[in-house]
């Protein structure tokens, strides 16, 4: 019987302690297989709780952050009255939404209608499990990390399509179809740019990708290959914004056109799930950008030993989240600055600009590796 093991310090700890505790059990129940299975299950529960906690815990923080960032861009204050500077505003929002009335419109396909938000939530959760937060802080360190992310990330669109279709509303349907077309197109660039990362790191394992960026700041992939790395980073930024359906690529929601797009008919908890999924996707995509381009959990060492010693004293997970929040801030600034392109322009942009540039980038990257690497 194959029982996978989870390798991280907590996992070792659990594996060490489960046999010790099982010694107290009656003798006929003791067996090594059982210990392994129990240890695995305990580990799995810990992992699931950890992923959920990171994701769901970060969503209210991000919503608060978004409201504050957009407020300050717009010369206003944002939430101020609940808690210190409105810090617990989103908690009130979440509680309120949980206790709202929930109903589906009369013509809706009820099963699909309620299933859709769950599907949307699954994708970012699964991606989060693959991200290495620190040297030994990764939930599942699979060797096929990048292909798995590409596969899973496209899963979210299914929920959006289902949600829009099952709502029995023309605006929802239009939003869902737009979203479908957009996601499928941008998936290609998204995959291409991850392929570029795989090419320069030589691995599809996210931990290996991070470890290959160890060293100074110049070793991060954004700087490691001059110019190309930066272009790659920008392209990743664009295509991941589109993947997340965030403004300026939020044509699926497009409040001014479609009053809310695919989630027009959703209310209460299902709507909260769409809302959360949007922000969790933001975390996972920022984490992916950090892992692939910004050196993951590595400190931004600059090559001067005196400074670097201090920098490396800070735990990697702190560096990781600092970079993630920087990325999120970038996404937010972009969201609150730009206007939304039209649906056909969005497609044009992907097929006529992003994809050719991506292909050129791949070629140039290959040439660089052959010549310099």
């Amino acid at each position: 019987m194959y029982v996978p093991s989870v390798t991280h310090p907590i996992g070792d700890f659990v594996r060490e302690w489960v046999p010790k505790l099982s010694a107290y059990l009656p003798e006929q129940l003791q067996s090594q297989t059982l210990d392994t299975i129990v240890a695995f299950l305990v580990n799995a529960v810990i992992c699931i709780v950890a992923v959920c906690a990171v994701n769901i815990g970060s969503a209210p923080i991000l919503i608060y952050m978004e409201r504050k960032v957009c407020a300050h861009v717009q010369c206003r204050l944002g939430p101020m009255r609940l808690g210190w500077h409105g810090t617990i505003q989103t908690i009130a929002d979440v509680i309120k939404m949980l206790f709202k009335e929930v109903y589906a419109p009369s013509g809706a396909d009820k099963l699909m209608f309620y299933l859709a938000p769950l599907i949307v939530l699954i994708a970012p959760f699964m991606v989060a499990a693959l991200i290495p937060f620190d040297k030994n802080l990764v939930v599942s360190d699979v060797s096929m990390g990048i292909p798995l992310i590409i596969a899973v990330n496209g899963f979210g669109v299914l929920g959006i399509l289902l949600g829009g279709w099952s709502s029995n509303n023309k605006y929802s349907l239009l939003g869902a179809l737009r979203s479908g077309a957009q996601m499928i197109s941008y998936e290609i660039s998204f995959a291409m740019i991850l392929l570029f990362v795989v090419m320069i790191s030589g691995s599809t394992n996210l931990m290996t990708i991070t470890q290959s960026q160890a060293g100074t700041i110049a070793d991060w992939f954004i700087f490691k290959i001059p110019v190309l790395g930066f272009i790659g980073f920008i392209l990743f930024f664009i295509s991941s914004t589109a993947e997340m359906n965030r403004a300026p690529f939020d044509i699926a929601e497009a409040e001014q056109e479609l009053t809310g797009g695919y989630h027009t008919e959703y209310n209460g908890t299902p709507f909260a799930m769409f809302y959360l999924a949007e922000y969790i996707a933001l975390v996972t995509n920022s984490a992916l950008a950090t892992t692939c381009f910004l050196g993951g959990f590595h400190a931004p060492c600059i090559g001067v030993a005196a400074v670097d010693n201090y920098l490396t004293m800070v735990p990697g997970v702190v560096w990781f989240f600092a970079k993630v929040f920087f990325m999120i801030w970038c996404y937010m600034m972009v969201r609150w600055t730009f206007v939304r392109p039209r649906v056909d322009q969005l497609m044009d942009f992907e097929w006529k600009f992003l994809l050719p540039v991506n292909l050129l980038l791949l070629g140039a990257g290959a040439a660089y590796i052959v010549i310099c690497g």
Partner: protein
């Protein structure tokens, strides 16, 4: 195709399945209670039929039982973005009937408040244009400076929106002493702010992509449909009531009437930005020439109009605003008052502009027409 809903006219053979979308009466981008019935082929609009009347309040019927003074107050509720301009439109018609003149200082007060109102309205346009394209930040930028204008208006007239300020022969109050310095400070502030705002939106590639060549209204169509104001001037027609039939003291002021040739959404955007600058120019001239002394209104008379028909037209921020007063008996009450709002023809021309465009373009075009629905429905 005999089963088309009322209003749709285009007969065409199609292989694809057409469907109808109902935009409004409550929709974020219809600028109020307007309903647009769209006939769609995929995301492309085949035909559009506007349905008015969701905010028809029977103002003209009501005006028949009101006195002229009360109608000035009621006219605030037509184009509420620049209520001060509506006031002037009504008052000029009344002045023609009463045959009273306006002293110089009152004229300057009028022109300055007019131009402040125009800037306020165009700032709302800037905000709504950006906001409707998806950039919420523009909306807030536009309203930020507008609040300063409303502060000035509140100090002068006593109300932020519904000003009810002008009276035949002048205005209700004199302006306070702080008025001129405040306007000056505001203009200095606006200059810097507009530089930022233009940098923010005017050259933005996405805005260009979404507005250049979108919703083209040809010169002939613009005139034929009776469009006016920035919409008409963006189509290459040099027509501004302030120049063509100058009222108040506009003939003594030096300002340009910006005219653009393409008639697309981007020109309609640019022309309003240019008009903000022109209004600032007018305001600066007025500040220099503003008479400190002198009467601020003519002799107060009861507002009674002799029998006759009186017509006035002014250029509001949206376009040609005309008031037609019919007095059948000499007295305080009109027999009939009719208002010609500028937005009404613009929406009529909408169908011409949107055909063949996407639903997103409709939002852009609506934003650049800058309609105020209560002024259409009255």
């Amino acid at each position: 195709m005999s089963t088309l809903p009322p209003g749709f006219r285009i007969q065409r053979e199609t292989n694809t399945e057409e469907f109808f979308i109902n935009m409004g009466p409550q929709h974020p981008s219809t600028h109020g209670a307007l309903r647009l019935a769209l006939r769609m082929d995929g995301e492309t609009i085949v035909e559009l039929v506007p349905h008015f009347g969701y905010i028809h309040r029977g103002m003209e019927k009501q005006a028949e039982s009101m006195s002229y003074l009360q109608y000035i107050a009621l006219s605030d509720r037509q184009d509420y973005l620049t209520a001060i301009q509506n006031n002037l439109g009504v008052v000029i018609a009344l002045e023609k009937g009463m045959n009273v003149g306006v002293p110089e200082k009152a004229e300057y007060i009028r022109v300055m408040l007019q131009e402040l109102g125009r800037i306020a309205s165009h700032l709302v346009f800037y905000g709504c244009f950006g906001g409707d394209l998806g950039g919420q930040t523009c909306l807030l930028f536009g309203f930020k400076e507008r609040e300063m204008i409303h502060d000035i208006l509140e100090e002068v007239t006593g109300s932020r929106l519904t000003t009810n300020f002008f009276r035949p022969g002048g205005s209700r109050y004199d302006v306070p002493d702080t008025f001129i310095p405040r306007v000056k400070a505001f203009l200095d502030h606006l200059e810097g702010a507009m530089r930022d705002y233009e940098r923010f939106l005017s050259k933005n590639i996405i805005v260009l992509e979404r507005s250049v060549g979108i919703g083209i209204l040809s010169k002939e169509d613009a005139i034929a449909y009776g469009c006016s104001g920035p919409v008409l001037r963006a189509s290459g027609v040099n027509f501004d009531v302030r120049r063509a039939n100058p009222y108040s003291i506009y003939s003594q002021l030096d300002f340009d009437v910006p005219v653009f040739q393409n008639g697309d959404c981007y020109d309609r955007y640019k022309i309003r930005i240019a008009e903000i600058h022109e209004s600032m120019k007018i305001l600066r001239q007025c500040i220099d020439k503003f008479p400190k002394e002198g009467p601020w209104r003519s002799k107060e008379k009861p507002v009674r109009l002799p029998v006759g028909r009186y017509y006035s037209e002014i250029e509001t921020a949206k376009g040609l605003y005309a008031t037609y007063v019919v007095a059948a008996t000499t007295g305080e009450k009109p027999y009939r008052i009719h208002t010609r709002g500028p937005s009404f023809p613009h929406i009529a021309a909408l169908n011409k502009m949107v055909q063949g465009h996407k639903i997103s373009d409709l939002v852009t075009i609506m934003a650049t027409l800058d309609p105020v629905i209560p002024e259409i429905d009255r």
